[in-house]
């Protein structure tokens, strides 16, 4: 399994042709307490960088973009009732969806952990 990141602070844990998707610790620290998440549609295909889900915190409402193109195979529907899971463990239990990757070449457009850490440094 390898983990990749986007500039917009989504992560994707890739295993075979499935990517588990969520948002990073940094994203959560910027959002503040999450009060609502509008999950993606099950079975629907999303393009890379297309709006996958919407998230609302006490500060703002934001879009979550799909790190890779693919079809949604599984949703973390527990988030519907307890969106705070995203605050508590954004990179584990707070995952949002699993998608079946259509084009694995797109992974090249994502950052690895080290590159993402460097990206965060530029935002300070």
């Amino acid at each position: 399994m390898s983990i990749y990141y986007t500039k917009n602070h989504e992560w994707a844990k890739v295993e075979d042709n499935i990517a588990m998707v969520g948002i990073t610790e940094y994203a959560v620290s910027q959002l503040g307490d999450v009060v609502f998440i509008n999950l993606p549609e099950s079975e629907k295909s999303y393009k890379q960088d297309e709006t996958l889900a919407e998230i609302e915190s006490v500060k703002a409402a934001s879009d979550i973009y799909s790190p890779l193109s693919g079809k949604v195979t599984e949703l973390n529907s527990k988030l519907d009732n307890s969106p705070e899971t995203i605050n508590n463990s954004p990179e584990t239990k707070g995952w949002i969806a699993k998608i079946e990757i259509i084009n694995s070449d797109e992974i090249n457009k994502l950052m690895n952990k080290e590159q993402y850490q460097q990206h965060l440094q530029t935002l300070k």
Binding site: Q30, D33, V35, E56, V58, K59, A60, P83, E84
Partner: protein, 486 residues
């Protein structure tokens, strides 16, 4: 404070029905009757009056407090506007009179006023014609977008996208989507204005329009605006001016002269008709010559006998966007405001609005971080990023302002500025009020260093304490239930 339901007692009454003096008759069908007991509160008149008077005292409003809510232009609305809009000759008028020829005779005066407002707004925006119909700024935007769509369809232009800077109001991309286009967001450059290089890259033949708020939501005037409009026009891309911030350039610049094709105005902001729970809005839209055929109809015209009538003959018009003439009384307030101030007065509005915002920004620059170090227009954005190091957020400072009797500025918007506080003092506030606000903001900065706990616990000694915003959003409890769960 107790709810009116909790004050209910069965031995007091506030109202008695008169004795039945007509023969009693049955309802046509029984299902009109409520079978369950209706749980209505019952109190005496005095208790009722006290309840609502006390509630109204909790209301935080412009008539009682300073309200520097950025981007919202919460300025004081002179009371004479209410007086005039409340004249019986206006308030007792029915728009149905415009449905018949005979009725039309009786509304000539009102039509004359609307016609005058149409012309004044045309003059102010530099456009060729204005529709008064849209009932709010966002509806004005949608009206503009629908005209853009109609224009491109008529010309058989294949257009898919609308360019919107990342500082734009949330309604901009929403209007774009409602008109069936996709929005392209352009980031802000280091100067606080749309990145021109990226704009040029994204400006393809498939772009239908570019929407600009100028000054933008950072309170910054885009000095490249003319160039942006020229570049857009080379590709038959229409230019849309979001008038939310017209307050800053009123009487100084006409948006159409900068190169904008469509201009919407928020009468309930710039032209002092109240807003923010204070009543309905109005969002007239002006267009340049090439878009006049697409304007919503009808609009008011004057014939050679000085009679006013409605014009609706363009086959390309997008049609009606509101019943009758829009929000008539809101329009009346704006007209009154414009006539009272006159051209010089309107210029003064923007001069003082800009002066006040700059005064605040300059006074606070050593205490808070300024994301962009340049002259602001009618509002300024400062950041609590310095205070964040001590664990104090913009939210904490906002709560402290409540404790000090000031409505907090807009926080966490625009989204591109971390810990943003967006302050719009408006031209209606005195230097004394501004100085008080500045002192309180300086004190907040001092507390952030010396006693952060005070800010974290604010508001203290206030009518309410700090709300749990997460709980308020997640576990809403909006319906009263008595002990019997009814």
């Amino acid at each position: 404070m107790k709810l009116i339901f909790e004050k209910s007692t069965f031995d007091r009454e506030g109202f008695k029905l008169p004795k039945l003096d007509v023969p009693e008759c049955k309802l046509p069908t029984d299902n009109l009757l409520e079978s369950k007991k209706v749980n209505l509160p019952q109190v005496g008149e005095l208790e009722l009056v006290r309840h609502y008077t006390n509630l109204s005292k909790l209301n935080y409003c412009l008539d009682s407090h300073f309200y520097p809510l950025g981007s919202c232009t919460m300025k004081y609305n002179p009371k004479i506007l209410e007086t005039i809009a409340g004249f019986e000759s206006f308030s007792n008028l029915t728009p149905n009179l415009s449905l018949s020829k005979k009725g039309f005779k009786y509304i000539q005066g009102s039509l004359a006023l609307l016609f005058q407002l149409q012309n004044l707004l045309t003059e102010i925006t530099g456009t060729s014609k204005v529709t008064l119909q849209p009932l709010a700024g966002a509806q004005g935007e949608l009206t503009g977008m629908l005209m853009i769509k109609a224009y491109h369809q008529k010309k058989n232009n294949q257009k898919k996208y609308v360019i919107v800077p990342d500082t734009s109001h949330g309604t901009n991309p929403a209007s774009v989507a409602m008109a069936g286009y996709e929005s392209i967001s352009i980031p802000t450059g280091p100067e606080g204005q749309m990145d021109l290089k990226i704009f040029k890259e994204k400006l393809t033949d498939e772009v239908a329009a570019v929407i600009m708020t100028c000054p933008n939501t950072l309170g910054i005037f885009n000095t490249q605006i003319k160039q942006i409009c020229d570049l857009a026009h080379q590709k038959d891309v229409l230019t849309y001016y979001d008038g939310a911030n017209l307050n800053a350039i009123l009487g100084k610049i006409k948006p159409a002269e900068l190169g904008f094709d469509i201009v919407h105005l928020n009468l309930h902001k710039t032209f002092s008709a109240p807003h923010g729970g204070g009543g309905p809005g109005a969002g007239p839209v002006g267009v340049v010559d090439k878009l006049v055929p697409f304007l919503p109809e009808p609009y008011i015209v004057k014939d050679k006998n000085d009679q006013f009538s409605l014009y609706q003959q363009s086959p390309d018009s997008i049609g009606k966007v509101a019943p009758f003439f829009g929000n008539f009384q809101v329009l009346l307030k704006a007209l009154t405001y414009i006539l009272i101030l006159g051209k010089e007065g309107l210029e003064k509005v923007s001069e003082i609005a800009v002066l006040n915002a700059n005064y605040i920004m300059e006074s606070l620059k050593d205490y808070y971080q300024l994301p962009f170090r340049r002259r602001c227009m009618h509002e300024c954005v400062i950041s609590a990023q310095k205070q964040k190091e001590k664990g104090i957020s913009a939210l904490n400072i906002a709560k402290y302002l409540i404790q000090e009797g000031i409505h907090p500025p807009t926080i966490y918007f625009p989204l591109i500025v971390k810990e943003a506080m967006m302050i719009e003092p408006t031209e209606t506030e005195s230097k004394k009020t501004l100085d008080q606000f500045i002192q309180i903001m300086k004190k907040a900065a001092k507390l952030a260093k010396e006693s952060p706990q005070t800010l974290k616990q604010a508001p203290a000694n206030f009518i309410f304490s700090r709300f749990d915003e997460v709980k308020a959003a997640r576990n809403q409890n909006l319906k009263y239930k008595n002990n019997n769960n009814e």
